[in-house]
């Protein structure tokens, strides 16, 4: 381990305006390697927007977003591509390609590399399916034929296909039954210890947050109001945290 490691995600003085409305103002967030950061905040506080900015899907009005030490906004072409290959995203609705089968969805990013042969890809795809507890037979199904929970797991398998270093999860356990939700948390935790995965997740589920997050960032009033280890933040007096504490007990 090199001593002062570069933060995986670094946001400085970020401001976002969409349609004349301020979403973020002067927002700072630094996520170090190996952290699992739970991003919490009330609905409409701009959590998903923040994820989109990490991906470079949305340009910030002011400030900087750095991924693995490189500016996402100014990075162009090849560099940007390489940068984005190092992260995997699980979108809220899954965002599986509806014209492709589950197998082809997961194989898609691997085929895009144009370096791996079909046998290799096949093994990887079935491995990922197994990782997310889907049957090999599910690979043949089209996304429209999957239940909500299966869409989530298939989308996670696709996000994991490229062996990402950073995983962005938007409401990973929403729509899963408690059993699946728990196994999902266990899965992410196992992956994290194996691969040294860094995770940023938006969640409303207290159990997922408690089970997975090492750190919690509270987004309120357009800024990260509180950031710290799970224990510290959960002990703090904050309305959003309070709501989670209540939920966790209930």
């Amino acid at each position: 381990m090199t001593a002062p490691s570069i933060p995986v995600v670094e946001m400085r003085g970020l401001a976002t305006r969409i349609g004349g409305r301020d979403i973020h103002r002067n927002l700072d967030l630094v996520v170090e390697k190996g952290q699992v950061v739970g991003l919490v905040g009330s609905s409409g506080s701009g959590k998903t927007t923040l994820l989109r900015q990490i991906l470079g899907l949305l340009q910030p009005s002011e400030g900087q977003v750095r991924l693995f030490g490189q500016d996402v906004v100014t990075a162009g072409g090849e560099m940007r591509r390489n940068l984005l290959r190092r992260l995997g995203v699980l979108f809220q609705g899954g965002a599986l390609f509806s014209a492709l089968s589950v197998f082809d969805n997961i194989a898609f990013p691997l085929r895009e590399l144009r370096r791996l042969d079909e046998d290799w890809i096949r093994r990887l795809v079935y491995l990922k399916l197994q990782m997310v507890e889907l049957e090999p037979a599910h690979g043949k199904l089209m996304p429209a034929e999957l239940s909500g929970g299966m869409v989530k797991r298939a989308a996670l398998a696709r996000a994991l296909a490229m062996e990402p270093e950073l995983l962005l999860l938007d409401e990973p356990t929403a729509g899963l039954d408690p059993e699946r939700s728990r196994s999902f948390v266990a899965l992410i935790r196992a992956l994290k210890s194996e691969l040294g995965l860094t995770v940023i997740m938006v969640t409303h589920d207290p159990e997922t947050l408690a089970g997975l997050a090492t750190h919690i960032a509270v987004l309120a009033g357009g800024r990260i109001e509180t950031f710290g280890s799970q224990a510290d933040v959960m002990a703090a007096e904050h309305p959003v945290v309070e709501a989670f504490r209540q939920g966790g007990k209930g």
Binding site: T2, S5, I6, R85, R86, S98, A99, L113, R115, L116, D119, W120, R122, R123, L124, Y126, L127, K128, Q130, M131, P136, A137, G139, M142, P143, A144, M162, E163, S193, E194, L195, G196
Partner: protein
């Protein structure tokens, strides 16, 4: 920051070190594959103890090199062993290879024929539902979706005025110009009025407008109904106890049936105007004379035929558009396929119906000299 993957052979052992991840093995994939193969052939012990990271892509790489079995002597940390173990335990279903079969073309043909019959049945179902809905609305006139009908009239009719006018005008000018060249050689200049009048009012006006509207509004209707199915809006309507056919399908069919004859009237008039201007410039036929002889050259039956065609075409376009819209499955591929099918089928049917019209109205509206 990350160490490149390395393979060394030290005193009878293969030593792997560095990061063995998808990203790090890609740049030197060919070299590494060669090295691993050579190492495997020489049957040495494997030492993976100094690997810093190992992901499943690289684990698959190693597992394939080892011909899917554990090497007899292997030194590896428990964590990395677990990664490879998971690769080893992955169950691979047998690949099903599609073999060519002489029955395949026959099956394709059969499927196409059955598909055609299913489409006809589907169209009849949509038509029957429309009749049932109209019957229901006769008994409950207060439930007539006037707002939707008027919105469709505006979108498919009023907003189509400029484009139909432009196309009509240009076609009028072109037909008039080309006919004038021919007619002048026979000295039959005055027949330009007959040619333009009958061709545009009876045939070109309705077909032209129908093709434009099928491309413009037919596709829009299919896509709209299709997206409403994809986003479950239609189910939401049904859950509120609102009939999807009365609220979505019926207004479109009624509105397009009303609006197409009006568009035909409009486009034919503009096309005639274009023809008149061209005739004035080319053959010196004054506008007044043109209008005057138009009444004598073109019996009013032609106008009736043209407008009735518009009526039927409008109905056919909306009918086909709604049928294909309701057939959309919730994925993007199906949406685009059905929209394409909707436009193609609508235009084909319009031409077909036009031919039928031509046969059955052959005794009407042709001036006997």
């Amino acid at each position: 920051m990350s160490e490149p993957p390395r393979l060394q052979i030290e005193s009878g052992r293969v030593v792997l070190s560095g990061d063995w991840t998808l990203a790090s093995i890609l740049p030197t994939l060919a070299v590494l594959a060669q090295q691993l193969d050579d190492a495997q052939k020489s049957c040495l012990d494997w030492d993976l103890g100094t690997i810093t990271r190992l992901d499943s892509a690289a684990a698959v790489f190693l597992w394939r090199t080892w011909n899917e079995s554990w090497p007899s002597k292997l030194l590896i940390s428990d964590m990395h062993r677990h990664v490879i173990l998971r690769v080893a335990e992955t169950s691979l279903p047998n690949a099903v290879h599609g073999r060519w079969d002489f029955r395949r073309p026959l099956e394709t043909l059969g499927a196409a024929v059955i598909g055609l019959f299913l489409m006809l049945r589907g169209l009849v179902v949509v038509y029957g539902q429309l009749l049932l809905d109209l019957g229901y609305l006769l008994r409950h006139p207060q439930e007539m979706p006037w707002k939707e009908v008027s919105a469709t009239i505006y979108k498919a009719g009023a907003q189509a005025l400029p484009v139909t006018a432009l196309v009509g005008f240009l076609i009028g000018v072109t037909i008039s110009y080309l006919s004038a060249l021919q007619l002048r050689t026979f000295g039959a200049d005055l027949f330009i009025v007959n040619i333009l009048g009958i061709a545009i009012i009876r045939e070109l006006g309705p077909v032209l407008v129908a093709v434009l509207v099928a491309g413009r509004s037919g596709s829009a209707m299919t896509a709209q109904i299709g997206v409403m199915r994809v986003t479950e809006e239609i189910d939401a309507l049904a859950a509120m106890g609102i009939s999807r056919s009365i609220r979505i399908v019926l207004p479109k069919m009624v509105a397009l049936t009303i609006v197409l004859p009006l568009l035909v009237m409009w486009a034919s008039s503009i096309a005639l105007l274009g023809g008149m201007l061209s005739a004035l410039l080319q053959l010196d036929i004054s506008l007044g004379f043109f209008v005057d002889s138009l009444q004598r050259a073109v019996p009013v039956a032609n106008l009736v035929i043209g407008l009735s065609k518009g009526l039927v075409f409008g109905f056919v376009i909306a009918w086909v558009a709604c049928y294909f819209g309701l057939r959309v499955k919730p994925n993007t591929e199906s949406l685009s396929a059905n929209t394409t099918a909707s436009v193609v089928t609508a235009i084909t049917l319009v031409i077909l119906v036009d031919a039928i019209f031509a046969i059955f109205t052959r005794n009407f509206g042709i001036p006997q000299l």
